[in-house]
């Protein structure tokens, strides 16, 4: 019948304009690629899928409107997104109320999966997960006594500082500086001068690549020659480009590495490079993976005439996903919808990343 030929609609919320338009764009690319691949294989259960992208410009109110539109006007089967934790926290009550399953590939605030929302699934490591892995690694492998932290004044940056600081103190080491900055700041000389004066052994940058690269460069300009550490975005090729060498030696966590020999990753990197002419980075990978997780669940859920039932079935299928291979490693959701994801720890050496952990790869 006609209904069966209708494509399956997936809603995507992300910042396609505004301050985070850049990572938003990567996210979009990852999704476009996955959708294209799945449709090329003939879709899911014989149906094509379409992604409907809605911009939230990183503003919670707009994010709510986007979720409302996707769930009630476009009547999508499931939602993927968004980028900012504040936006997800704002709109997740919409998807919950509409009983629409949501996969969140990027936003890392713990509260997202801690609130008891049965329709929320996250396929990336939370802040505490990645930060404590980094802290463990650094504390175990280096003999640093004094740590400094410079982080963005957002839930993301604050969360990093909190977890990292706790680990450091627990190990009996010292946090000598905790400095904040705002997104969009460009000059960090003041903070870095202050930090330099306190003589730390290592500096943790808790922020995104734009500000992170500035911090790395300005630290070098000021002659602050300490071990730099970072998270997430600081492992991307763009970061390396923007740093102009200032990232040499920086240790950083990474959800996704192009250089591993996992066949899934290889295939993804190849296809992405072909389509977009550049290597993928973590946000593209996470979003790409989210589409495949959705595919698996939709496939398992089977056909339903009634949208509400169908959504419910997809949700239940998501909850049951176990060891589903993906470009960020296997996905298994716990009862809160959080996937247990390991992260890589890498180090920038001569514009290349050397994987420090896990050592086997």
């Amino acid at each position: 019948s006609k209904a069966e030929k209708e494509p399956i609609k997936i809603g995507v919320i992300g910042p396609f304009t505004g301050p985070n338009a850049k990572p938003g764009g990567r996210m979009k690319e990852g999704i476009e690629l996955a959708v294209e691949e799945i449709n090329a294989k003939g879709g899911i259960n014989g149906r094509k899928i379409v992604a409907i992208f809605e911009d939230d410009a990183s503003q919670p109110a707009q994010s709510v409107a986007a979720a409302e539109k996707l769930t009630t006007r476009d009547e999508v089967l499931l939602v993927i997104g968004a980028y900012n934790s504040a936006c997800v926290l704002a709109h997740m009550q919409v998807t919950e109320r509409e009983k629409t399953p949501q996969i969140n590939p990027i936003a890392v605030a713990t509260a997202i999966t801690e609130s008891g929302n049965k329709y929320m699934f996250r396929n990336c490591a939370t802040n505490p997960m990645q930060v404590s892995q980094l802290a463990d690694y650094v504390l175990k492998n280096f003999n640093f006594q004094k740590f400094a932290m410079l982080f963005e004044n957002t839930d993301y940056g604050r969360g990093i500082a909190e977890v990292f600081g706790a680990s450091v103190r627990q190990a009996g080491k010292q946090v000598v500086a905790e400095e904040a900055y705002n997104i969009g700041d460009t000059d960090f000389y003041s903070q870095l001068t202050k930090i330099k004066n306190l003589g730390p052994d290592a500096l943790l940058i808790g922020g995104n690549l734009t500000e992170g690269s500035q911090i790395a460069r300005q630290a070098r300009e000021l002659g602050l020659n300490v071990q730099l550490m970072g998270l997430g975005g600081l492992s991307s090729p763009e970061f390396d480009q923007l740093c102009d060498g200032a990232n040499e030696g920086l240790i950083c966590t990474s959800y996704f590495e192009v250089g591993t020999d996992d066949p899934l990753v290889k295939k993804f990197v190849e296809a992405y490079e072909k389509k977009f002419g550049k290597p993928p980075e973590m946000f593209a990978a996470a979003a790409y993976e989210a589409v495949y997780i959705a595919e698996e669940a939709i496939k398992k859920a089977g056909e339903h005439k009634n949208l509400a039932e169908w959504r419910q079935a997809v949700r239940d299928a998501l909850a049951k996903i176990k060891d589903l291979p993906g470009v960020q490693g296997p996905t298994t959701f716990d009862e809160k919808g959080q996937a247990d994801k390991k992260v890589y720890i890498v180090q920038w050496k001569n514009h290349e990343k050397v994987i420090l952990y896990p050592t086997g790869k």
């Binding site: 304009t17 301050p19 338009a21 850049k22 938003g24 764009g25 004044n153 400095e179 904040a180 900055y181 705002n182 969009g184 700041d185 460009t186 000059d187 000389y189 003041s190 903070q191 001068t193 202050k194 004066n197 734009t210 690269s213 500035q214 300009e221 000021l222 002659g223 763009e238 480009q241 923007l242 102009d244």
Partner: protein
């Protein structure tokens, strides 16, 4: 002490940035009487122009700087004709909304054409360091301060000695009466917009190599520029300069000696406290309204 000197130096660089951006803003207000909400975007567009000239076309840095200023002067004239002119003489709020339209247009236009990604804008001076007495900074930073001071001096001379300066003041007080004095208001308006835009271009091209260039750079800049403009007294060129440096130093020292969380608040707190005690800005002259 060393720390203090370094922080003062940091503050001076920041202050130059603020002053340079605020100068154009205060001139447009002073002469045309309009609050240009899109001034941050002037700065951003100027930075991109400098970037294209210097990096993509490979022109020497100073050639790119002058080139960007000239190109943006033309840009300023176009904006004056197309946007400011229809808003001339309209109430404040309409001007704000009208130039807000321009600002949104330029910002998202840049997002579309240049992409949202930040780009690096290296100059030969970004990798030359000066290290004395344990304080350090790049030559580019020093350049920012020096070129800013030179531009300010030139601008002052120009405004003081050229008849245009007087014409600008007259225009800001009564456009019609000014035209009756034989002042060609349209020329004054265009020249003002041209100067303001080219100052913004200078700011963008000077600062681009220190930081990064991306469409979003306009947003952070404009709030500060407004604070500086008001602190210095609207339309007051000297005021903008002093206020710019004051704010730069205040921020730098706040981070150093109080808390980096308060850095942003300091700007606005200074602004509001000043206005409460001196409603016409630090350098505004207070005059009783004659009834």
């Amino acid at each position: 002490m060393q720390n203090f000197i370094q922080q003062v130096m940091n503050g001076l660089v920041l202050g130059s940035v603020y002053a340079l951006i605020a100068l154009g803003l205060t001139m447009i207000y002073g002469v045309l009487g309009l609050i240009n909400w899109a001034h941050g975007e002037f700065y951003m567009v100027g930075a991109f122009v400098g970037y294209i000239l210097a990096v993509r076309m490979g022109l020497p840095y100073f050639v790119a700087l002058v080139g960007a200023m000239l190109i943006m002067a033309v840009f300023g004239i176009v904006v004056e004709r197309v946007v400011f002119l229809p808003l001339r003489g309209r109430p404040n709020m309409n001007v704000i909304i009208g130039t807000l339209g321009l600002s949104v247009f330029l910002l998202d236009g840049a997002n579309l054409t240049m992409g949202p990604d930040p780009v690096r804008f290296p100059s030969i001076y970004t990798d030359q360091f000066i290290r004395v007495l344990g304080i350090s900074f790049t030559v580019q930073r020093l350049l920012v301060v020096i070129v800013t001071l030179v531009l300010i001096a030139v601008l002052r001379l120009f405004i003081r000695n050229h008849k245009l300066g007087k014409a600008m003041r007259a225009c800001s007080q009564d456009l019609q009466a000014a035209s009756l004095m034989g002042i060609e208001i349209n020329h004054v308006a265009m020249i003002t917009a041209a100067i303001a835009a080219s100052l913004a271009a200078a700011a963008g091209t000077l600062i681009g190599p220190i930081f990064l260039v991306n469409p979003q750079m306009s947003i952070a800049a404009v709030g500060k520029a407004f604070a500086v403009t008001i602190l210095g007294g609207l339309g007051n060129v000297e005021g903008a300069v002093v206020a710019g440096f004051t704010l730069g130093l205040a921020e730098s020292l706040t981070v150093a000696y109080i808390s980096s969380y308060l850095k942003e608040i300091v700007a606005f707190a200074i602004l509001i406290t000043t206005l409460v005690f001196k409603p016409e800005g630090i350098f505004g002259k207070h005059s009783v309204e004659k009834v």
